[in-house]
Amino acid sequence: MPSGLNPASKKNPVLQKRDSIKTGWLAAWRRRVRRWALKRRPAQSSFVLDRNNLFIFPTGAGFALLLVIFLMWLLGTNYDNNLVLALAFLLASILISCILHTHASLAGLKIEVSKLQEGFAGDELGAELRLSRQGKRKYHDVRLFWAGQYPKAVTVDQADASYVSLSINAVRRGIIAPPLLCVESRYPLGLLRCWAWLKFDTSVLVYPKPVEAGPLPATASDEGSGDSEPVLLDGAEDFSGFHSYRDGESLKHVSWKHYAQGKGMFVKDFQSYADEQLWVDWNALPGMDREARLQRLCDWLLILADGSQPFGMRLPGQTIAPATGISHRLNCLRALANFEANQLASLSSNYYLEGKL
C-alpha cells in the first residue's frame, strides 16, 4: 500500500503509526514475499541497486489507469473512433515505458549505512544512510524507511553522495542489527512502485533502558546519593595530585590557584575518596533478574555520571575502577550493554520484517 494513499495514514499521519500486523490476504502475501526476499539475500555492508535486488509492480494508481485504458478502448471500439483508440494505446504505451523509467529511477543507486548511534533500549537510534550515484543520473524522490516505519523522501543529486538521517527502534539491550531497509521509488508518475528490501550487516550497541531504582544503597555511598558538598582538606594526605581539566568535568575541584597564575586548568584528585567510593554494584540489587538489575544499574550510573564524584561499577566477573568523565561513563554503559549479551535471544526474522520484536 503506498503510504501516501494509506487510508489509515490519511487522517493523522503523525499519530497513527504503520500497523505492523496487518490482516488480509494482500498483507499476508506481501509478508511472504518479504520473508522470501530476506532469505534470498545475504546481509551486506553496502548495496548497489540493480536487477538482482529490485522488485517492480504496479501501484493502485497503475491498476486504476489500466482500467481507464480499458474503458477508453471500449469507447474507441464502440464508436469506431480510431483517435480514442490511439489515445488508449498511447496511455498503455506510457504505462509500459514507465516500467523502464521507474526501474531506472533506482537502478545504480549505492546505499550504505554511514552511521549508527548507540543508545538506550526503547529509544530511537540515529541511523544515517549514505546514498551515492554511480553515473550521471540523478535519483528523484527516493523513499527510504526501516521496516515498520514511515518513509522519508530524498533526491540524490549531489555529485559525491547524499546523506539521509533515519532512526531505528532500539528494541532491546545488547547488540542489534537494523531491521530491513526498504528503498522505493514511484518516480516519475506513481503508476509503478520499484523497491528493494536490504539487510545490512552492521550492528549497534544498545544500553539497558534506565529504570528508576531509588537512591543509591548505603553500602554504595556513605554520603547519600552523592549530591552533598565534598569536603576539601588543604594539604591533607587524601590529596593525591592533579590532572588536567577535561571537558565536562565539574568545576568544583578545579584548582583555581593554578588557573589564576596562568598555569592552566587543573583538577585536584583526592585519594581519600577512593575508600568511601561510589559503586554501581550488581550485588546491591538482590532478588531481581538480570535485565531488571541492569536497567536499575543503568539508572544509578546515569545519576552518578551527572555528578562529579568518581564512581566504579561492579558486575559479576567484571569491575570497572572508579573514575569520572565521559569516556568512563561510556565504558560503563557499554559494559552494561554487553553484559552476557551472548545469552540474549537473537533477533527474529519478524524483527527484520516488521521492526518490532
Binding site: 501516501g4 486504476a64 471500449l74 464508436y79 480510431n82 498511447l90 553515473g135 514511515y150 514511484r186
Partner: protein
C-alpha cells in the same frame, strides 16, 4: 525531505491547469454554463486551500450536484444521447473538485480526466483536436507526477517537462499498438451525437437556403476515384435527396417521409418484400460486361443527415444503408461522424419501358391550387401550343438563358407567389430559384418533375488525386419524367450560367468577369495564394483521414497482408512482440545512456590515474583522505617511493591552477605521465 501526506500544492495547480485544458475544447459542443460551474468549483477550491472557506458540506454538495444534473437533462430534454452523457461525465469531473481531501480523490479526478479528454474526439476528429488531446494528457500526467513526488526540490515546470519527455518516448510503441493491435468493431450500439449543429442543407428547400452555403468552404465529402483521374466537372452531380412536395414556396419531402426513422423502416419493409422495379433492371444491367461504370470511395464528413451522396445511378456498399425508390441512399442513422463508403456508378444506365405509377405521377405533378398563377398560365400556354415534353423543357431553358442572370445577391421574393415574382420581375437568382421555378413550370405543363438537392462539381486535388466537395458546391437541380427514358436530370442553372457547371463553383467565382461584381461573387473571391494554402491543408487532412481515421478492420487486414505478409495469429503476435520489444529496447538504451558514468574533471585525471595504480598495489584512498595524506601514508610503508610520490602530488596540485590547453599544461601532463611510469610497485 519529508513525505507529504496531504495533496502537494503543485499537484493542485497542475490539476486545475489540466482540468482547464480538458474542458476547453468540449465547450464547443456542450452547454456553456458548465464553464461557470467550473469557475465556481475552482474558486471554492482555491478559497479552501487558502483557508478562507470551509470545504463544502454534504448539505451543500448533494443538492448542488442534483440541481446540475436536472439542469442538464432539462437543457437537453433527454439523457441517452452522446452530448448529455458526455456533459454528465464532465459535470462529475467538475464537481469532484469540491470534494478533494486525500491524494486518492485527486487520483480519481485525474483518471476521469483522461477519459473526459478523449471524449472530445467523439465530436471532432481533426488533427488539431487529436494533438490537443495529447497535450491535455501531458498536463494530466504532470499533475500525476506532482501528486506522487514528495520531494519539493524541483521547479514547478519540472513535472511538465518530464511528462512531455515520457509522452514523446511512448509514441513509437503507441504507433506499433495502433497499427497492429487487432480491431474488433463495435461491441454494442452506443448513443450517437444528434448533432445540434447540422451542416449543409436541410431536408427542405426554400429560396435562400442554398445560397447561404456559398460562403462555406468547409468540406462536405472527399472522393477518391479508383482510376485517380480528374473527372469531367459537368458530369459531377452528387445526388443527395429529392423533394417532391411543394406548398407554393417551400420544397419538402412527401408528408409520409418526413420522419427519418419511419421512412427508413418503411423502405426497409418494402425491400424485404420485393425489390423495386429499377433495382431489378439495374441488377441485370450491372451484370452486362460492357456497362461502363466509375468506382470511387466517398469519405463523408458528419452531416447529421441520413443522406449519402453518389453520382447517378449508383450502388453503395455500406452497412445499414438502403437504396430508395428514387435511386437515393439512406443511412439508418444520421451520419454523425466521418463515414466512409464505396460506391460504383453506372452513368449510362436508363430504364427501359416503364411507366410512372399513378400515385407517384400525382405526387410529382401536384401544385398548390391558385398559387403562382402567371407561371402556371405560361406553362399551360406552351402545353396548349401542342409542344411535346421535350419542347416544353427546351422552352423553359431558353427562357432562362435569354432573360435571367445568375446571382448570389439575396433576392427577397414576394411571400404570396414567389415563383411568379422570380420569373416575371426579378429575373436573377441562384440555383435554388431556377430549380424551383423550373419544376413549377414543368408541373404546370403536366410533366412529372421534382427538385433534387446535392452537390455539383468539386475541387480536384492534383497532388493527392482526390476530389474535394465543399458545402459551397451545394446545388439544386431538377429531374423530369420522360416516358422513354424515365427520370432525367435537367439543370436550369446550366442554361443561365453554363460556366458554373463546367468549372465548378469555386473556379467559376474566381474567373467570373467583373460584369458580375454586382452579383455578390466578388466578396467570395479568394486570393490564389489562400486557395493554394487551403488545398494543401485539405490534402493533409485527407491523408490524415485515409491513414488514421479510416484504419479499420478491413484496412488492417490489408496492412497485415502487405507489411507482415499474412494475417495468421502467430505472425501478428510475433510482430507485435518484436516491434514492442524493439521500441522498449531503444528506450532502455536511452535510459542507460543517461545513467552512464560521469567523466571525471580533466584536471583530476592524473591524480585518479595514480590512485588506480596504487590501488593495484593494495593502497586505497580512504574517503575523506586528501591526496597529500594518502601519499604520505603510502610513503610511510614504502619509503623508497616517498620522493616520487611527493613530487607527483605537488605537480598534480599545480595542474589545478594552470589553464587547460596551454603549453604549460600539456608539458605538465607529459611530466606526470613519465613520473607515474617510473613508480614501480
Amino acid at each position: 525531505m519529508s513525505l507529504i501526506y496531504q495533496i502537494p500544492r503543485p499537484a493542485l495547480w497542475w490539476l486545475l491547469l489540466a482540468q482547464g485544458a480538458v474542458i476547453l475544447p468540449l465547450m464547443q459542443y456542450l452547454p456553456l454554463w458548465l464553464i461557470a460551474v467550473w469557475a465556481v468549483c475552482v474558486g471554492w477550491r482555491i478559497q479552501v486551500v487558502r483557508g478562507v472557506f470551509d470545504a463544502p458540506k454534504v448539505m451543500v454538495k448533494v443538492p448542488l450536484a442534483l440541481t446540475m444534473v436536472v439542469a442538464l437533462v432539462l437543457s437537453y430534454g433527454k439523457l441517452f444521447a452522446l452530448e448529455p452523457l458526455v456533459a454528465l461525465l464532465l459535470l462529475a469531473f467538475l464537481l469532484k473538485l469540491l470534494e478533494l481531501q486525500s491524494q486518492r480523490d485527486v487520483l480519481l479526478l485525474l483518471l476521469l480526466g483522461f477519459f473526459v479528454a478523449s471524449t472530445q474526439l467523439l465530436f471532432s476528429t481533426s488533427i488539431i483536436a487529436f494533438l490537443y488531446a495529447i497535450i491535455s494528457f501531458t498536463f494530466l500526467m504532470a499533475a500525476f507526477m506532482a501528486l506522487h513526488t514528495a520531494t519539493a526540490t524541483h521547479s514547478f515546470w519540472h513535472s511538465l517537462k518530464t511528462s512531455s519527455v515520457i509522452t514523446l518516448q511512448a509514441i513509437p510503441l503507441a504507433l506499433v499498438l495502433f497499427f497492429i493491435m487487432p480491431r474488433i468493431g463495435s461491441l454494442w450500439t452506443v448513443p450517437l451525437s444528434d448533432g445540434n449543429a447540422k451542416t449543409g442543407f436541410s431536408d427542405s428547400m426554400e429560396p435562400g437556403n442554398i445560397s447561404q452555403l456559398s460562403k462555406d468552404y468547409s468540406p462536405a465529402f472527399r472522393v477518391d476515384f479508383t482510376d485517380k483521374k480528374a473527372p469531367v466537372q459537368s458530369s459531377l452531380y452528387w445526388r443527395g435527396l429529392s423533394l417532391s412536395s411543394f406548398d407554393g414556396r417551400r420544397w419538402e419531402l412527401p408528408f409520409q417521409d418526413r420522419d427519418d426513422n419511419m421512412r427508413y423502416r418503411r423502405i426497409a419493409q418494402e425491400q424485404r418484400k420485393h425489390n423495386y422495379g429499377w433495382q431489378v433492371e439495374f441488377a441485370s444491367y450491372r451484370r452486362k460486361d460492357n456497362s461502363p461504370y466509375i468506382d470511387y470511395q466517398v469519405m463523408m464528413e458528419a452531416s447529421f443527415q441520413p443522406w449519402l451522396f453518389a453520382l447517378t445511378t449508383a450502388s453503395v456498399g455500406a452497412k445499414d444503408v438502403l437504396s430508395t425508390p428514387d435511386y437515393l441512399f439512406l443511412s439508418k442513422r444520421p451520419v454523425s461522424q466521418r463515414f466512409l463508403y464505396q460506391a460504383r456508378s453506372y452513368p449510362e444506365f436508363k430504364r427501359q419501358g416503364q411507366s410512372l405509377g399513378p400515385s407517384e405521377r400525382y405526387q410529382n405533378t401536384l401544385l398548390p391550387s391558385g398559387s403562382n398563377p402567371r407561371a402556371t398560365a405560361l406553362a399551360q400556354q406552351w402545353r396548349e401550343a401542342g409542344d411535346s415534353d421535350r419542347r416544353v423543357i427546351a422552352n423553359a431553358m431558353r427562357l432562362f438563358q435569354r432573360e435571367f442572370a445568375y446571382s448570389l445577391q439575396d433576392t427577397l421574393l414576394s411571400e404570396l407567389n414567389p415563383v411568379d415574382d422570380f420569373l416575371f420581375s426579378r429575373k436573377r437568382g441562384y440555383c435554388e430559384h431556377f430549380a424551383s421555378a423550373f419544376v413549377v413550370l414543368m408541373r404546370a405543363a403536366d410533366i412529372p418533375a421534382r427538385v433534387v438537392l446535392g452537390y455539383q462539381g468539386g475541387q480536384w486535388n492534383e497532388e493527392e488525386k482526390y476530389l474535394l466537395v465543399s458545402q459551397a458546391d451545394a446545388h439544386a437541380w431538377a429531374e423530369v419524367w420522360l416516358p422513354e427514358q424515365g427520370w432525367t436530370r435537367v439543370d436550369p442553372t446550366s442554361a443561365v450560367a453554363p460556366e458554373r457547371i463546367e468549372l465548378g463553383f469555386r473556379d467559376y467565382i474566381q474567373q467570373s468577369s467583373t460584369a458580375n461584381e454586382q452579383n455578390g461573387f466578388a466578396e467570395l473571391r479568394q486570393s490564389p495564394l489562400l486557395m493554394q494554402l487551403q488545398m494543401q491543408l485539405d490534402a493533409i487532412n485527407y491523408s490524415w483521414q485515409s491513414w488514421v481515421l479510416s484504419y479499420d478492420q478491413d484496412q488492417q487486414m490489408i496492412f497485415f497482408q502487405k507489411v507482415l505478409g499474412g494475417q495468421e495469429h502467430w505472425r501478428i503476435v510475433a510482430v507485435l512482440m518484436g516491434a514492442s520489444t524493439f521500441m522498449l529496447a531503444l528506450l532502455a538504451l536511452w535510459l542507460w545512456w543517461r545513467a552512464r558514468p560521469e567523466a571525471p574533471a580533466a584536471e583530476l585525471v592524473p591524480w585518479l590515474e595514480l590512485e588506480k595504480k596504487l590501488a593495484a598495489g593494495g593502497w586505497i584512498r580512504e574517503p575523506g583522505e586528501t591526496p597529500q595524506q594518502f601519499s604520505s601514508r603510502v610513503s610511510r610503508q614504502r619509503p623508497d617511493l616517498e620522493v616520487l610520490l611527493e613530487r607527483y602530488t605537488k605537480m598534480a596540485y599545480t595542474l589545478l591552477y594552470i589553464p587547460i590547453g596551454s603549453d604549460q599544461h600539456q608539458q605538465l601532463l607529459k611530466d606526470l605521465a613519465g613520473l607515474r611510469n617510473s613508480i614501480r610497485l
